[in-house]
């Protein structure tokens, strides 16, 4: 039996959190949207994500404070992020956009302009005053220990205690990510909507041409 410590993430976990975002974005494929949209290598994406974490602006998927991690023998082996959406009226998309603009070189932003219209076809707005699940990732050798369930429970307990009026948790998952879809449905999430793009070029930039939004009522 392996013992795990579950705790809030800190800046010392930034490299693992960057890996978590990268793996979650790829959704089991080799397509990393941060690379395809901004023209960056995976190593460059990781470095910029770490720089963004160092700014630590709360309230979005790129905030260290949105993450909890599981640790085994001093090594971080899993992470999951969630945040309360637009709790102070600022959508997390604005916070994320500000961080990207502040951190990325201008040529990356210029490149994004040319593909924004295609990418936005799969955009689904985060619903204010809900909890949004972001990225999750477990190192291969530590899978099968129900770590995501444990991380999920702790982060939801923390957020619902802090924001008692929130009664819904939501997650957006690419259609190609069958294991995640199955796992969330098994734990009580139901499908709210499916957004699909018929643009054949979209899979040049994103892992899939469709995205599901799932939700679950929070038991008080």
């Amino acid at each position: 039996m392996i013992d795990f410590i579950i705790r809030p993430a800190t800046i010392n976990d930034a490299a693992f959190l960057a890996d978590t975002i990268i793996e979650a974005e790829k959704s089991g494929t080799k397509k990393l949207s941060y690379s395809t949209i901004f023209g960056l290598t995976e190593a460059e994406v990781k470095q910029y994500l770490i720089e963004i974490f160092e700014e630590e602006i709360e309230g979005c998927e790129l905030s260290i404070s949105s993450f909890v991690v599981a640790e085994s023998n001093g090594k971080v082996v899993a992470a999951l992020s969630a945040w309360a959406e637009a709790i102070d009226d600022t959508p997390s998309a604005i916070i994320k956009g500000n961080l990207l603009n502040f951190t990325l070189p201008k040529e990356c932003i210029e490149k994004a302009i040319s593909v924004n219209k295609i990418i936005s076809e799969l955009h689904v707005e985060y619903l204010p005053n809900t909890i949004q699940i972001g990225a999750c990732y477990v190192l291969n050798e530590f899978r099968g220990n129900r770590l995501l369930g444990a991380l999920n429970k702790i982060i939801l307990d923390t957020l619902t205690t802090k924001h008692p009026n929130i009664d819904t948790v939501m997650v957006q998952i690419f259609s190609c990510n069958t294991p995640s879809l199955k796992a969330f449905k098994k734990s009580g999430y139901t499908e709210v909507t499916k957004k699909e793009s018929n643009n054949k070029d979209i899979t040049n930039f994103l892992p899939s041409n469709a995205k599901f939004v799932l939700k679950k009522d929070i038991n008080k």
Binding site: I37, E55, I57, D89, T90, P91, S92, A93, I94, I95, K96, G97, N98, L99, L100, N101, F102, L104, K106, I109, A112, I113, N116, K117, I119, S120, H123, E125, P128
Partner: protein
């Protein structure tokens, strides 16, 4: 730059970025009032404003902006 000139220039940037010529800027306008105001489009919007007005926002300035009125105030303080 006069406030109205600034608003006119900003309106063009908003309409081009969101591909929506019906956008009318008011001080109270927020991301919740405009379709497709996602993170990528917001990043492009802010970057275009910086380029067109030849300014650079501080991250703390950006995170204080709650509406277009606040955005206009910060741009004014930087260019005047």
């Amino acid at each position: 730059m006069e406030r109205q000139d600034l608003i006119n220039k900003l309106t063009t940037i908003f309409q081009t970025t969101f591909e929506d010529n019906s956008i009318v800027l008011t001080d109270e306008l927020t991301a919740n009032d405009v379709d497709n105001w996602d993170s990528l489009t917001h990043m492009i919007l802010i970057s275009t404003i910086e380029k067109e007005f030849d300014i650079k926002f501080k991250l703390k300035d950006l995170n204080k902006m709650k509406n277009v009125g606040a955005l206009i105030a910060i741009i004014s303080s930087k260019i005047n």
